[in-house]
């Protein structure tokens, strides 16, 4: 069952590479949140209730609901519909993401650490690199935020792959930080939109030497 969820997660990465409508992208991020919830739930059923409920809140509530809703609101406020001129075509993106998944898979196999589960490791590395790829290949800063969220999801999976539980106090701090950073980034997208009348990263060049 977990394997199916992980495969579905990887499929969302492939889908993301071809998505044009930003709203769809946000929805996929929400779906990823739910998938991560499922994976974490099955994986961590035996940890103590407090830690478990905590991780479930992080995935289902924040990644699955709160953040997508917030991003949808940002899209509406800035009247953003599509990634206007993707610098990289869909086909090339698809090739890239496929290559990323393949390389991650090979990497996970070569590493061969007994404490490390290959499925998780592959999916997490793929999400990490896909996130970085999206940030580099797309021009709108809101898409950059979404790339960042992909990267975060990858790191969440990586922490599951490692299986090391951080102490609760540390986990709480990390969760609070992540949530605030996403809200702050979305807020800044609004502000950039107001000041620059565009949310194109290449237009952000007021500061130079």
């Amino acid at each position: 069952m977990v394997t199916i969820l992980i495969i579905l997660f990887v499929v969302t990465l492939v889908y993301v590479s071809m998505v044009d409508r930003l709203a769809t992208f946000v929805t996929i991020l929400g779906i990823q949140g739910v998938l991560l919830f499922g994976i974490a739930y099955m994986e961590l059923r035996d940890v103590d209730a407090l830690n478990l409920s905590f991780i479930l809140a992080e995935t289902l509530v924040f990644k699955g609901i709160v953040i997508p809703l917030f991003l949808h609101r940002t899209l509406r406020r800035n009247k953003l519909v599509k990634e206007a001129e993707p610098t990289v075509t869909h086909f090339t993106s698809l090739l890239f993401v496929t290559a990323i998944i393949l390389v991650s898979f090979l990497l996970a196999y070569t590493v061969h650490e007994e404490h490390l589960r290959i499925g998780y490791f592959t999916a997490s590395l793929s999400a990490l690199f896909t996130g970085l790829f999206i940030i580099m290949a797309r021009t709108k800063i809101i898409t950059h935020v979404m790339g960042y969220l992909l990267l975060e999801n990858g790191i969440f999976l990586l922490s599951l792959a490692v299986g090391n539980e951080m102490p609760l106090a540390v986990n709480t701090a990390i969760l609070l930080d992540l949530l605030t950073s996403v809200l702050l980034l979305a807020f800044l997208v609004d502000k950039v939109g107001e000041s620059f009348q565009t949310v194109d990263a290449s237009e952000l060049n007021e500061l130079n030497d």
Partner: protein, 475 residues
């Protein structure tokens, strides 16, 4: 004294920040700032008294933390003072000032958290929190520049810190394989020698890359420069001092935790390469740009690079002392920059001139500051750089000294050229009739620069011993 003092400090800081948002009158703001720095002073005294005592499970102040807390208290309180002066001159509204002060208090508190945490995950969390609070500080002016700087800074910091988190996870892969579930620095230090060197290298590389954005070194230094350019000058001073130290602390703590392993020579090479790259970029930009604030920011890049080279060449004492002296010197210069801007209303070197005539006291700060950041005697930075070169020559990376020396000379030339132009060139533009500068305004800047001389050349033996105990490696 009660041992949960740090927790009391965190709670107290949050309360003070909360009250600041409500009580917006200037006098109340000033009182609240005084209250905050008294609390910080109490924490410093407490930590100094209870050195190396674990508190609240995850907090512990070692001599290194206490040293940096001292720097934070000094530079932080001066930044608060100059922040109030800045707001007064510009006639900013109460709400803006209150938000700024509350963010300042929270920012400093988060940085304190970085200094005194003994768990790597907590260091990470506090560093990210410092990014979020510093965003409010950088955003202060609410214009195009500050929006752009804030956006870039928060975004790249978040990416960087996420990469660092991956590094932490790699470290925990290595420790899980040894059945160690504790990621406190002590635990890592004890078990690291038995861990898989490959994972440790991965972990170190990812963490250095990620934390580089906080320390302001290569590879992710660009946004730091933009942030210092877009932020008010007293905030830039904080970014160049307490935040640089926080980034350094994160890297140095990881480095020390892994220093007992077989990857030490490899880590040294990584730090030296990163440091040399930083100095290289600094030299290129300083020799060609004309924006005073960015010149100062690139000079911070140079010094952060020098600090890492010092760590990599084994001159840990020099590294720690240098990062402290640089914090004093650079914040003094950034505070002085506020006067410069008030006079000329421009950042450009070419639109300024005759500074020595228009603001002699400020010109003095500029000259002494130039000596400090170019490491000319009698400035203490001379001593620390000397130690660094000495260590470099006696180590396996002696060749680095030659390009480094060349780059430092280029930077010396670039900085001196620009400062002389500001001081003596006939001013081309109209000087704005700013409010007259009071003596009080420059005294703290002189004091900081005097500290650079004092701590370098006349440091009391107790201080030297304390710094030495901060960098002693306990296997």
């Amino acid at each position: 004294m009660n041992l949960s003092m740090p927790l009391a400090f965190f709670a107290g800081s949050v309360c003070i920040a909360g009250v600041m948002m409500i009580a917006r009158r200037r006098i109340l703001q000033a009182l609240l700032l005084v209250a905050y720095f008294s609390l910080l002073g109490a924490l410093l005294t407490h930590e100094f008294t209870f050195l190396d005592v674990v508190e609240a499970e995850y907090l512990k102040a070692d001599p290194l933390a206490v040293l940096f807390l001292g720097v934070l208290a000094i530079v932080g309180s001066l930044a608060a003072y100059y922040g109030m002066a800045y707001a007064k001159h510009r006639g900013d509204n109460d709400r803006q000032v209150a938000t700024h002060n509350a963010a300042l208090v929270l920012f400093l508190t988060m940085v304190v958290g970085v200094y005194i945490s003994r768990h790597i995950g907590l260091v990470w969390a506090f560093l990210e929190a410092s990014t979020l609070t510093s965003a409010i500080l950088i955003y202060y002016n609410r214009n195009k520049h500050s929006v752009e700087a804030t956006w870039k800074y928060v975004f790249v910091c978040s990416i960087g810190i996420a990469i660092a988190f991956a590094g932490i996870l790699f470290l925990s892969i290595a420790s899980e394989a040894r059945e160690v579930h504790d990621l406190s620095f002590e635990a890592i230090r004890i078990t690291a020698p038995t861990m898989n060197a490959g994972w440790l290298k991965f972990a170190f590389l990812f963490m250095v890359t990620g934390f580089s954005v906080k320390m302001g070194v290569a590879p992710l230094f660009n946004v730091d420069i933009d942030a210092k350019d877009g932020a008010p000058s007293h905030v830039a001073a904080l970014l160049s001092s307490v935040l640089m130290i926080a980034g350094f602390m994160a890297i140095f703590r990881v480095y020390m935790a892994l220093a007992g392993t077989s990857i030490l020579p490899w880590m040294n090479s990584v730090l030296i390469i990163v440091g040399l790259m930083s100095v290289f970029f600094a030299a290129i930009y300083i020799s060609k740009i004309k924006n005073v604030k960015r010149i100062l920011a690139y000079s911070s890049l140079e010094h952060a690079g020098i600090v890492l080279i010092a760590v990599g060449s084994g001159a840990w004492f020099a590294a720690v002392l240098h990062v402290i002296l640089h914090a004093f010197a650079k914040s003094s210069l950034f505070f002085q920059y506020a006067h410069f801007f008030r006079l000329y209303q421009t950042k450009n070197v070419h639109s300024a001139g005759d500074y020595i005539k228009h603001h002699p006291a400020g010109a003095g700060v500029l000259i002494l500051g130039l000596l400090a950041i170019t490491a000319v005697p009698p400035m203490g930075t001379f001593i620390t750089e000397l130690f660094m070169f000495k260590a470099l020559f006696s180590g396996p990376h002696a060749w680095v000294a030659f390009p480094l020396f060349l780059l430092i000379t280029i930077i010396l030339w670039g900085l001196t050229k620009n400062v002389l132009s500001i001081l003596y060139r006939p001013a081309p533009s109209v000087i704005h009739p700013a409010a007259p500068f009071t003596v009080m305004e420059t005294i703290p800047q002189y004091a900081l620069l005097l500290a650079v001389v004092y701590l370098g050349f006349f440091a009391p033996p107790a201080f030297v011993q304390f710094v030495q105990s901060a960098v002693t490696f306990h296997p």
